[in-house]
Symmetry: C2
Subunit: 412 residues, 2 copies
Amino acid sequence: MGLDPARTVAELRELQELTGDENGAQRVAWTDTWARARQWLREKVGPTGAVEEVDEAGNQWFTLAGESDRALLIGGHIDSVPNGGWLDGCLNVMAGVEVLRRVAREGPPPLTVRLVNWADEEGARFGRSLFGSSAAAGSMADQDDLRRRKDADGVPLPEALAAHGVELDRALEARRQLESAVAYLELHIEQGPVLESLDLPLGVVLGTFGVERHLVTWKGQAAHAGSTPMDKRRDALAGAAKLALEIRPIAAEVGDGAVCTSGGVVCKPGIVTSVVETAEQLLDQRHLDAAKLARLLELAKGASERFAREEDVDVSWDRIWSIEPILFDERLIELADASIREVAGTSHRLPSGPLHDAAEVARAGIPTVMVFVQSLRGLSHTKLEDTKEEHLELSVQALDRLTSKALEAFTA
Amino acid sequence: MGLDPARTVAELRELQELTGDENGAQRVAWTDTWARARQWLREKVGPTGAVEEVDEAGNQWFTLAGESDRALLIGGHIDSVPNGGWLDGCLNVMAGVEVLRRVAREGPPPLTVRLVNWADEEGARFGRSLFGSSAAAGSMADQDDLRRRKDADGVPLPEALAAHGVELDRALEARRQLESAVAYLELHIEQGPVLESLDLPLGVVLGTFGVERHLVTWKGQAAHAGSTPMDKRRDALAGAAKLALEIRPIAAEVGDGAVCTSGGVVCKPGIVTSVVETAEQLLDQRHLDAAKLARLLELAKGASERFAREEDVDVSWDRIWSIEPILFDERLIELADASIREVAGTSHRLPSGPLHDAAEVARAGIPTVMVFVQSLRGLSHTKLEDTKEEHLELSVQALDRLTSKALEAFTA
């Protein structure tokens, strides 16, 4: 018997039964429900003969020894946000289990094949996403900060991890897990509307966007809405409004998938009888190309200074967070493209807006690629998240083909 | 000895000493400090021979009997906001005292002259402004609501009033005070930047703006800032931003002093990683001409519907509050203009953005006018509120001239 993609769908539903409720998935990392999901996964993988190991960061590895110690990795995360969907994270893990079964049945593969269930991708409890993968990638630079974090109930992060056998101080020892890795594959729901709008089931991911995230503060002058003539105003909201609109032609000018979002404006004093004195505007800009990301930022800053002059207000920029674009491996992109075409007829290349564990692995220098499967209405992080069963099955097939092609390519 | 405008300035400083602190004026209505200010006023007026009466709404009247029972009214309010300025309200009262002194010295005037210190113009403690003047004007229609109001410490409004001898249920009996009134004069600081920008000390007020106040709600679709291409977005903030900018050409098109303000936008979910789903926008539009005010609203609604189509979002309008424009008396406007020209050389006509007790008196059908004196930087409701002493003295002179002209005009 070969690959059974329908079994993956059935197992995803079984997992949802076991660890979800009427509000959605509840597999928040470092909770009993998450531990139950990991135990369930252990039992599913057991019959393949893959050997389990939980590393110092809590990542759960299943290793199927091959003819070489060099390892092809397939990864995902079984943790979810609270009230999450039935696919985000665990699809990758369960498709990987099905691929592992197929590979195991065919006898020792040319490379060792390892399935990894990363610990705490979502960061839902402590606000720190990509925990396990950043530890393994050696890019976790915020351990001092993490030591002080507490969840909403005041439980410190180190204490919550210790309850699951993880010592924060030793988490970076997980780095040795990537020493033997030659390539990394990850399947994920798109969490966006692109594939649905193109009526395509599958796409290959070129990399994860670089992000520039800023707080743009506009300072004008509070003034009475009744007694201040229009030409005597210094309206901070006018600056923010112009920028909220201008980021769109800027994104179009830079092109190639650029996205810019003004996620909110906080106005002070924010009352109906006063011109706005201060407007604090959130700005998020993303691009797959570092130079184009820099250009997005430069154009927006230039526009903001022009608007500040026009409105006789002040503007200042504070960086909240930024990350460089992370590009996936060209050879693996070609292999993923070919795999998708074989199972679905047509492929499509697209960037990933959200970050994924794959970005951490790629940052560590391991050739990496991701496959996206269509998300209905682009929804995720809600129980409304869904993907057609036929598309889920195609995605398992595509991951399986990609695994075969990668085993062949990286053995040579 | 004739009019002594410098004495008015000195008395305003004395009042500030008595009832203010390092944070500004503290004469909040229905407090001990306010009662102390009223007692102080009583002592100041005493020597003029004007007879005091406190009416059922707490308004404090000083009546100087004339040859006729028909009365010329001069009004102001000695109450302030907490941490208020040294002029807002009490300038009118103290200038009136000085005019009363001058009139009294000259023997019985042709008309009775009455100075009124309105009770609770600011509404600082219970959120209900123009309390005493609306009672006297007969336009207080919200007594049921007022009966339930409480201050920040939970003290009910009727209880606070009773402590100062005012029965809420009888407040409307103050209406009889206006029965004999033939005209009403009020001097006030501008609380806006117009006279300062024209380098003029004084102006005559044409009336108080009509106001249309709305909450404009924009509804789009929350979507991930990274995974949602620009052309797949339904951004509620884009609608609000367009309207925040469009109200300015609309005000210019309607003209004649039109003002429109978007005092704030509340964005939901309001996070950096999401397109804005809901934007709740405050909109305030004002005009002195009812038809033009209606046109401001019509144009803004039309624009919002156009923007909603352009952005593929929904828009809805909810009225928060509105009031018709209240026009002052043409004959009194001419007399005020002439008085200002006599004392300052140049006059200027302007609308009042803020409401004033004068608007209530005008609504009751009494010919009314206001004189504005320049406010430095347009500031009020703060201890930074200020006016040059020379301008304060000119304003007392102007009120005095206006009183003489009105006595003459309304005697005929």
